[in-house]
Symmetry: C2
DNA sequence: AAGGAAATACGAAGAGATTCGTATTTTCCT
DNA sequence: AGGAAAATACGAATCTCTTCGTATTTCCTT
């Protein structure tokens, strides 16, 4: 079996676009553009071009049935997150994901829920207290 | 007071060079180049150029006293890690560092020590079980 | 003081990401 | 059918990062 997206490492703009697709589901360029327009001010053709490139790269797939092509993320959010995280871990944390976790926990304030969830995960991961 | 390095977001190559400086301490271009040469094969002048640019950016400072200038990292490893981590959190984890932590914990296998350390930190962070 | 080795300075090229203007195609409405 | 509106296709410019070749400077040795 071949894993096509183990190396999903979208760029910044690509990530923004994927974000819209993850949130809205399959969308046209116009929809993505309008969605992003509330926070950004990138030209329509810029988004179009990016999405075309993303299709070439396999980050999204597109349905050309209708005039307005519909794009669908072909990478899940979790996959993208893993890819980017592993990248960072390799480049800046000496390959230790847990060192990154430690850093992440140290920064900012946590929600009680989040802390609980982390504790739960920690318990699953083994090693008793 | 002005914080010059709150935005330390070194690029890949810069990170490699910083890695050498963090490990070896203040070094000349030659030393950095030779250190990296064991794993890479980047030309001497490439490293030189990069280090010059890093000096302009303020990522390193340099002592021009002697013929061979000596470069010193002006960003700590922890600062760089924070900067890069925050970047990733903002771009791919909806701003939640803890969501990133969760992901990081989930991937790969952990050392018992690491898990213990995380538990310890978690306890400090508050919220009882 | 002259030569040469070792260092820095500089400019420019190549690759990838982002941007957008313009041309072309498609569709629908009257 | 004719034309406007909406969409895609395409090419090119810009920016950043990385790369390196060549020119220049500095310093040591004889």
């Amino acid at each position: 079996m071949r894993f096509r997206h183990m190396d999903a490492r979208p760029t910044n703009k690509e990530l923004e676009i994927l974000g819209v697709l993850w949130r809205r589901g399959p969308s046209s360029v116009r929809e993505v553009h309008e969605d992003l327009a509330t926070k950004q001010d990138t030209g329509y053709t810029t988004i179009l071009k990016l999405m075309q490139i993303m299709a070439e790269k396999g980050l999204v797939s597109r349905d050309e049935e209708n005039r307005a092509h519909i794009y669908t993320a072909s990478v899940t959010e979790a996959e993208a997150q893993s890819g980017l995280m592993n990248d960072l871990v390799a480049k800046a944390f000496g390959g230790s994901a847990h060192r990154l976790a430690l850093h992440a926990l140290g920064s900012k304030q946590a929600t009680q829920e989040e802390l609980d969830e982390i504790r739960r995960l920690l318990d699953e991961l083994g090693g008793e207290k």
